[in-house]
Symmetry: C2
Subunit: 409 residues, 2 copies
């Protein structure tokens, strides 16, 4: 067994720092929404780095960026990467770490004159976060053919802009047909964005599944009335009914167990006055599970409870599905490459599920895929407080490096 390869930690951190300065916010954090000027500047920097490393850069018709390092053969390449768009007030690691670690892997191989049998492709997908344009994971969705280029171009951003207009404005309307490069495997390195590795003090997560997601918007219709004069038994209190349903979400998760999650993140009362019984309550529900049967059970439990509340509280409730994403099981061969790489490096790892969505879960529909997680301090992400120690970032990149070399040979 050859000794494991190691990336250059300071160089990885330096690139992360440099990219983090593009769209940096006063007081910390960064905002680079898809196809904004900041995103263009970040893309330009990435493309420059790719070219400096001798990669052949290709941009596809939705702005996905690919940098290819030729292999000893023209066999299907190994692809690895993530995205560089961010949420608002993001940290500096989400997505960027996966792309710049990928770049660093290539840099290390080139520096050490190591050739691989298969070509290697560093990938940066467009609009993973889905903040400016909905849906998220857009670049990978188009790449695997779940969304057409035309559908993507017709999307309207929350700011009223058109995807097609904005991609042209920043000059990332490439000519490559999405899906044209067909990798033999896709790996994505990412911070966990959850607390488990940090809590368990395990440096590497070998991700074998991504949870399915059900997003619902629930609207409770009651009747506005005076909080002082309306007897309790004559009320149709939309706020109370909503509170009961939100409380029940925890019961759903507890009853189903496993990795079932249930969250209400947004709520609004109307008319929202201190002395008026709410006529309307609108809130969102986020249900996740890596087991699709359980996820459907969770939704069914919720709908059943909603019917009970309609009767008990004299309200009418509309449940609208905002999004249904199926759970994804990653490919055994790709997971094995990650685990063997960690073993080779003598790094402790654990099998785990991703609770967040990633481009890898869409790529997995067409290509053998897996993910590598590194710890996120306190599980904090989508926040300027997002943090992973440099040595943990280097360990994750080392695992990626040895895994792709393994897969490419």
């Amino acid at each position: 067994m050859t000794s494991p390869l190691k990336i250059n930690q300071p160089r990885l951190i330096a690139r992360l720092d440099e990219l983090a300065r593009v769209g940096a916010l006063d007081g910390g954090g960064v905002t680079r929404l898809t196809f904004t000027d900041a995103d263009k500047e970040g893309r330009d920097l990435l493309v420059r780095w790719m070219r400096e490393l001798g990669l052949a850069v290709q941009i596809d018709r939705v702005g996905n960026i690919f940098g290819t390092r030729i292999g000893e053969t023209d066999d299907a390449p190994v692809m690895f990467g993530s995205h560089i768009d961010t949420v608002k007030s993001a940290g500096t690691l989400d997505g960027c770490y996966g792309v710049l670690a990928a770049l660093e892997c290539v840099h290390t191989l080139t520096e050490q004159n190591i050739q691989t049998r298969r070509p290697l492709v560093v990938a940066a997908f467009t609009n993973e976060e889905g903040v400016r344009f909905t849906p998220g994971m857009l670049g990978s969705a188009v790449y695997i053919g779940e969304l057409s280029v035309e559908q993507a171009w017709d999307l309207r951003g929350f700011d009223g802009t058109r995807f097609g207009g904005e991609i042209q404005r920043v000059g990332y309307d490439g000519t490559m047909e999405p899906g044209a490069i067909e990798p033999c495997a896709y790996l994505e390195l990412h911070i966990e964005q959850g607390p488990l590795l940090d809590l368990n003090r395990v440096p590497i997560g070998a991700v074998d599944a991504v949870v399915g997601i059900t997003w619902l918007e629930i609207t409770v219709n009651g009747a506005a009335n005076h909080a002082g004069t309306t007897p309790m038994d004559m009320r149709r209190d939309a706020g109370l009914a909503a509170a009961k349903i939100v409380t029940y979400l925890r019961e759903i998760a507890t009853t189903l167990g496993g990795n079932q999650r249930a969250t209400c993140g947004m709520i609004q009362f109307l008319p929202n006055a201190i002395n008026v019984i709410p006529s309307k309550a609108i809130f969102t529900v986020d249900l996740r599970n890596s087991d699709n049967d359980a996820l459907q059970k969770a939704e069914a439990m919720l709908v059943e409870f909603v019917k009970k509340i309609e009767t008990e509280d004299g309200v009418s409730v509309e449940v609208r599905a905002l999004e249904h994403v199926l759970p994804v099981q990653f490919h055994p061969m790709a997971i094995q490459a990650v685990e063997e790489s960690a073993q080779k490096l003598g790094l402790q790892f654990q099998r785990m599920v991703s609770g967040a969505g990633h481009d890898a879960q869409l790529m997995a529909h067409k290509f053998p895929s897996a993910m590598i997680f590194v710890p996120s301090r306190e599980g904090i992400s989508h926040s300027p407080k997002e943090y992973t120690p440099p040595e943990d970032l280097a360990r994750g990149a080392d695992v990626l490096l040895n895994a792709i070399v393994d897969l490419a040979n």
Copy 2:
């Protein structure tokens, strides 16, 4: 027993309609916030009507308007009225009905050449609604000395304006010292703003108490985290904790029974994102009861439950009192005058409690007071849909008329 007096229904309705045109909104309803141009116009109209009826008009230093009809003696007068300021998008009856019915009573007496032993005073208090300037019931609070003129003048409106500046702007900074007229009794006629009279098909409510009000703002502090990646048992979900407390409000009201009310009318989650566990939830609680011991018990139950939730959910909760208004018991003599008047008119009546605040509850601190309620269709108020049939409005004014004549002789 003399036959009961009756007011002129069409004239009452005509005045209500004319005042409703001041600040009228397209599509129905009216907005006349304190000391706006619309409020000035409404005041000017009221003062003109008072003068046309030969009343001596006095304006006090916070803009309360009094129109006095002389009596056969200079004994302490009987005062009756309400307010003509409105909430935003108000109906046309709340407050205005009490003032214009008072005016109509005087008009009827004058028309029929009926003299009373005591003088009669029609009153319109400033800023009862408390929408532009907080607190509400401001004019009556100053009138009984619970708030000083200086404190009132220093208040800032939600629009940043100063009470003292706005009262001068509209020219209602009178010279009369608040409290200078000391009535032997104060009566206030008002729509119920609740469903009971309408539901019971009873035309008159003899109001013997006004509920006390406790307004609280509750802030739950948890921790924002990713809705997908954070295990359920590691969450400090401020939104869930808030939902549990809101749900418990109904239990408080049910446990205490009587006329206990408990309402959450406003809520806000932070950061309020579909896939983020709320770090903070802020909501209001409105507790009411005519029994002060029960009202305090309700608040104590809530605080005890909040402590339990702090432990169970790992959140910290701040409970801030926004307002504490003590319940008020009206004066037996004044209540009796109302009931005897209704009996004399052959109108069915019921004793009841006011669930909403009124100037009468402050006047009651210094002067024997009571209120008369008429039905509100479906209990709807603070809405353009507020409605009471003209014949019900006339019946209430008839009760007021005979009660004040009784009290004034």
